[in-house]
Amino acid sequence: MTKDNKFQNLKKAAIDKYNYIKEDLSNPLHRAVKLQKVSDKAVAILRAVIIFGLAFIIIFPIFQQISLAFRHPADLNDSTIVWIPKQWSLINFEISIKFLNYWKSLWNNIRVSTIVTICQIACTSLAGYAFARLRFKGSNILFWLIMLTLIIPPQAFAVSRMLFFSDFDIFGIFAALRGSDRGLTIGGAGKDGVFYLLSLTGQGVKSALFVYLFRQFFRGLPLELEESAQIDGAGILRTFWSVMLPNARGVVTTVALFAFVWQWNDVYYTQLLGVNDDKTFPLLTMQLLKGAEWAQALLNLTGLNIVDGESQTDPKFTALIVNTAAFISMLPLLLAYLFVQRLFVEGIERTGIVG
């Protein structure tokens, strides 16, 4: 083989190799697979960024709240302190507990939220079952009217509701019983019964949503379950209690969790119905609302000598106290969340709503 021929052969081999690689690179199957891989990766990265961002937005203020709560008032104006206090202190907690009337408020909150939760479950599950299974004339219209209460803001009918509860009567029965021309006055300081009444009559916090959840769930259960119960001689209530409700454990948990949390954080109804009473029936959220003025007044009037005079008049200090009060108000929920985390997440997954 001559030198020229050898060179030509090498050149041909090189070109063949190039063409082969080029062909391989432009293979549509490889390209599709690669595109899919790239898009999967991009989606994963995007998802990670969004989740991380959301987690940051939610967790960051809580950490900041904890850090501030343990900070001594003397460290307030020290710009070198970002996260870890130089002087650890429980003073903020002591003051917050005093001005929130914490233990009493906590007990009231737990009591009200628990009873309201039970009432909400009892009422909305029954209503949901009725809308899902018991067909009657106008049931759909009634259901969508209930749904309407979700859409219309509660502020829109605040006045009418107030008037309704200030003269509450059913066909004049209560007025006749009392020998008066006016019905019952429901609500007022310390009268937490109004919450239970509201929940039992399907007017509690977001009751319509719970009715919807129960209705959707019961509609998904097989008819055969009910039919077999009816063959065994069970009536509607018996079927509901013994067959349907045990199967709805998941939804009951979800509704219970949300009803409890929303009632715990409720300010609107508590304020509207004037249930809170600072001395006899304090509630955490309402106590917190009065926050800044209360803290300042308490410090000035009672002369709590736990911090020096300069800090007492510092607006930052008042803000610090309110921050700590907010932290201890939500602390029971945070602690409870640690134990019912799985149920809570499952509830959100099942319903697609966030508390």
Partner: protein, 234 residues
């Protein structure tokens, strides 16, 4: 016990770090030996002109060393060879011709680009045309960097290709996987910044670590085609 230690992840990490350090030092020696030695000597004013020409030999050794480092890392990654010194030197001589061609082409491209960059950089605020020229120059530089990074890989993975074909393939690889190319560029930029801030990093990892990233990031794609080519053109 010893066997377990050699199989451990910790050992592998340190082993790899040692290899990268050796490759980095060898690149420095191969391309910067004369300037390094010269910097040790107290130069009399008569020989100060040497300072201007002492970097010229670097032109003949820098790109070949880089290609050789890439080839060595590639060989180790593909399980072809696990030596460092000997492989580096073999690869250096094996790739020298093609590397020199790349060096010359890069030099030819770099001179007008440098000129264009300095001109447009000084005039960019004066008119919109100059600003566009500046942006175009920067874009061109980025494109050339992309192609050069892949060109080094193409010449090490697929030998015997004509240089023009290697360029075409490098361009295809660079823009087919643009995210990968950007990632590699980011790795180089980070290494450059750290090397600027820390002289120890400069000496130990500044060249070999970004080249390792280059090989590692592109490995899956190149290996697939490399295996097919090897099977078809034995």
């Amino acid at each position: 016990m010893l066997k377990k230690f050699f199989a451990s992840k910790l050992y592998r990490i340190f082993d790899y770090a040692m290899r990268l350090i050796l490759l980095n030092v060898m690149t420095f020696i191969a391309s910067l030996l004369l300037p390094l030695l010269w910097s040790l000597i107290e130069v009399s004013p008569t020989f100060e002109w040497v300072n201007d020409i002492i970097f010229i030999p670097m032109f003949f050794t820098l790109i070949p060393s880089i290609v050789s480092v890439v080839d060595t890392i590639r060989g180790y990654e593909l399980g072809l060879d696990d030596r460092v010194f000997k492989t580096f030197l073999i690869n250096f001589s094996k790739n020298y011709r093609v590397s020199m061609k790349i060096s010359v082409i890069l030099l030819i491209v770099a001179i007008p680009l440098y000129n264009s960059f300095t001109v447009f950089n000084s005039l960019k605020t004066q008119s919109i045309a100059n600003a566009i020229g500046y942006i175009l120059t920067i874009s061109l530089v980025v494109i050339i960097i992309f192609i050069t990074m892949h060109l080094i890989l193409v010449v090490t993975y697929f030998r015997d290709l004509r240089l023009i074909d290697a360029f075409k393939l490098a361009a295809t690889f660079a823009f087919k996987d643009i995210f990968g190319s950007i990632l590699i560029l980011a790795a180089f930029a980070v290494a450059l910044i750290i090397a600027y801030l820390n002289s120890w990093f400069l000496v130990l990892f500044s060249i070999s670590l970004p080249l390792y990233a280059l090989v590692k990031i592109t490995k899956s794609k190149y290996k697939r085609i490399y295996d097919r080519v090897e099977n078809n053109f034995k």
